[in-house]
């Protein structure tokens, strides 16, 4: 076993071991559980970081796989790791964000009765996602894909004793399951054709003239895409993600940045050549993601809950990543995935500090409780929003620019125009959130100075250790938003694609246009929410019908409740009736019949020996009579 393979096994094995130890042995010792989980994740991060340093060279691919259960001559179950720049970079991102969330949670979740269980689940999540990222074949991918779903179910429903999180967890699980059906079928189709569906084999087979017929490639890509749509909350299946905000805020940070929803985008990037070999499917994905990006941006424009704004922005940004991938650029989509992981984790963790402080998710209520006393969170929120909006020089600018560039070369002009419009909306809702959260309703000050970072900010109030951990995590991530954007050329050189040649600061007209759109969005947000004496009512909210429509997920949830959910419920009721009445009835009938028959027969057992004698004599007499008359032959 070579060094990189060992490191890859370490990166995913340590979180698994931590998860097992914490859940089995440390449930009653929260501090030990947190320390162990953080140490384990740090090991995982170190291993992934070393992998990035060693493996991530252009064109380098390492595949180590061991068959543990041969099925027949061509098929077998195998477990392995696939190391190339894409997977090791993603593994480092996953480990980094998970570690940040774990450190942050020591403050956010302090005192929760389920503290140790929480860390166990986080480690489970880290393991599942690392396994998915590093997996070598599609069956393994499927296994970890489902484990990621399980972990997010457990964490969204972490406060399962309250009805809302329990319902949200159920909804998340079931909605992603709808897509997973397609994913399962796609994987089975590829395994049927290719036997052991190792990812490089799949990619090679999907090339023109490969082992897969073009039609098979199209069908497989469409089926796999169903899973992606469910997992990455796109198109019609996005409504689980805003509801998933019922989980603890650090979980949302994890879920929205590097794990769960990123899994779908990562899968498309992983199998990108397969998807590109099905251009019809990619065209569909392009328009679906354009529609999703714009629709969810409108929803983010009217949401009052800070976490819901962030949730809608996540969906919208995931749609941008998929747009970039659909336009044919692995680099653009994946680059945005990486930068988004950084700034979305930052945004959620900053929001978490405000929520922790104000005990409310409502932006206007947070604004009324001196949010600016939490300096680290203010820095985080502003930096994260600037990155989300795509303000130069924050990370989001570079990656969004890469996506717009990819759309400019590989997509119809209409999609590009809509993507620019979406960028403007993104800037608008991001800064609406900043102004609404940080400025009280009767604004007397200018917005908090974004660039007054201070590690002293959190410590100034005699902060506890937990609060210091939260503030420190946020500040580190805020610094990262300034750094991650410069990774573009490095990443581009390793993922291939012509974009690698473009330096981050080489402005074309496209970049200037994007910056103009972003500036316009921010300006509108400033006019409506920021400036002194601003109306604090968005232009959408002036039209109540539109605001209601946007604020209610475009009535999609109502539509589902009125149709699919109702039908499924009716079907379940019928099945339940069948189970209770027919199946159980038959079983109960047999049981009751046996018992009743036994009772009746037991009446013959009078316990009086003389009656037995009489019966026996009577029977013998009858038998003798019958034999005597020849009645029985």
């Amino acid at each position: 076993m070579t060094g990189p393979t060992l490191a890859a096994l370490l990166a995913q094995g340590v979180p698994l071991a931590v998860c097992a130890v914490v859940l089995l042995g440390l449930r009653g010792r929260p501090r030990a559980a947190a320390a162990l989980a953080i140490a384990g994740m740090a090991v995982s991060l170190a291993a992934s970081g070393w992998l990035v340093a060693v493996v991530a060279a252009p064109g380098r691919t390492l595949l180590a796989q061991t068959v543990f259960l041969p099925v027949d001559a061509t098929r077998s179950l195998a477990f392995g790791v696939l190391l190339d720049p894409l997977s090791v970079t993603m593994a480092a991102v996953v480990a980094g964000v998970t570690l940040a969330v774990m450190v942050y949670s020591t403050g956010y979740m302090a005192g929760d009765p389920g503290f140790a269980r929480y860390y166990g689940f986080l480690a489970l999540f880290g393991w599942a996602m690392q396994g998915l990222v590093l997996s070598a074949n599609l069956l393994q991918t499927l296994v970890f894909w489902e484990l990621v779903g399980l972990a997010s179910f457990l964490l969204i429903g972490f406060w399962f004793d309250r009805p809302a999180p329990a319902a949200a967890a159920r909804k998340a699980f079931l909605m992603t399951r709808v897509g997973d059906v397609g994913f399962l079928l796609g994987v089975l189709l590829l395994i049927r054709t290719l036997g052991l569906a190792t990812i490089p084999d799949v990619i090679a087979a999907s090339a023109p003239g490969g082992a897969l017929a073009p039609r098979t490639v199209t069908v497989a890509a469409a089926l796999l895409l169903m899973g992606v749509i469910g997992k990455s909350a796109q198109g019609p299946l996005f409504t689980w993600l805003p509801d998933a905000m019922e989980g603890p805020t650090p979980v949302s940070a994890l879920l929205h940045s590097a794990t769960m929803v990123a899994a779908g985008v990562y899968l498309v990037a992983r199998l990108h050549p397969l998807f590109l070999a099905a251009p019809e499917v990619m065209r569909g994905l392009l328009w679906l993601s354009v529609a999703t990006a714009l629709a969810t941006a409108t929803m983010a424009m009217v949401a009052a809950d800070i976490k819901r704004v962030l949730a809608y922005s996540t969906i919208s940004q995931l749609a941008y990543m998929l747009m970039g991938l659909a336009a044919g650029s692995t680099f653009a989509g994946f680059f945005h995935l990486v930068t988004h992981a950084g700034f979305k984790a930052l945004l959620f963790l900053s929001a978490g500090i405000f929520i922790h402080h104000a005990h409310s998710n409502d932006m206007r209520e947070i604004a009324g409780r001196e949010p600016r006393s939490r300096r680290a969170a203010v820095v985080g929120l502003v930096a994260g929003s600037a990155a989300l909006a795509g303000v130069i020089p924050f990370a989001g600018y570079f990656s969004k620019e890469a996506i717009l560039g990819a759309l400019g070369t590989g997509a119809p002009a209409a999609a590009l125009v809509l993507a620019y419009a979406g960028a403007g909306l993104t800037a608008y809702y991001a800064f609406r959130m900043v102004f609404l959260t940080l400025l009280p309703d009767a604004p007397t000050h200018r917005p908090a100075d974004a660039r007054s970072p201070g590690p002293a900010g959190a410590a100034a109030h005699g902060a506890t250790g937990g609060e210091r951990a939260m503030a420190a995590t946020v500040l580190v991530l805020a610094a990262l938003t300034l750094v991650l954007g410069w990774l573009g050329p490095w990443l581009g050189a390793r993922l291939g694609g012509g974009e690698a040649a473009r330096g981050p600061l080489e402005f074309g007209t496209g970049a200037l246009l994007a910056l103009g759109v972003v500036a316009a969005g921010i300006a509108v947000a400033w006019l409506e929410f920021g400036r002194a004496g601003a109306p604090r009512v968005g232009f959408v909210e002036r039209v109540p019908a539109l605001a209601r429509f946007f604020g209610d997920n475009w009535y999609l949830d109502r539509l589902y409740r009125a149709t699919v959910v109702r039908w499924a419920t009716a079907l379940s009721r019928a099945a339940q009736w069948n189970d209770r009445t027919v199946v159980d009835g038959a079983t109960d009938g047999v049981a009751n019949g046996t018992i009743g028959g036994g009772r009746l027969l037991a009446l013959l057992q009078s316990g009086y020996v003389q009656i037995y004698v009489a019966v026996a004599v009577g029977l013998v007499a009858a038998l003798a009579y019958a034999l005597g008359t020849g009645g029985v032959r």
């Binding site: 009078s606 316990g607 009086y608 020996v609 003389q610 009489a614 004599v617």
Partner: protein, 108 residues
């Protein structure tokens, strides 16, 4: 009525008396006595049928087989009585009664 028929009628009478006693009396001892009567009826039948069948007068050993069997039956009855009486004593100690109506614990 031949001699044999007379013996068989007596045996039948004995058997019916025994059966009646077995079914009607409630005391275990009386039931045992009735049972012995039934056994005696059977013994009588055996002796009568082997001795008086009519065609075996020339064969004394064959006719005496029934008498031997009857003797063995008496022995068996004595052994049975000994076991039964000892059981009755045990039952009396256990439930302070040998009335068969009180011994119905195996009711279903």
């Amino acid at each position: 009525m031949t001699t044999l028929d007379a013996y068989l009628m007596v045996a039948l009478l004995l058997f019916c008396i025994g059966l009646y006693g077995l079914l009607q009396r409630r005391s275990l001892v009386a039931m045992l006595i009735a049972l012995e009567l039934m056994l005696a009826a059977v013994s009588l039948n055996v002796v009568a049928l082997t001795s008086l069948r009519g065609d075996n007068t020339a064969d004394p050993p064959a006719s005496s087989v029934g008498q031997v069997v009857a003797l063995i039956l008496i022995g068996v009855a004595a052994a049975e009585g000994a076991i039964a009486l000892s059981l009755f004593v045990a039952i009396q100690r256990e439930v302070q009664s040998i009335n068969v109506e009180n011994l119905s614990e195996l009711k279903g």
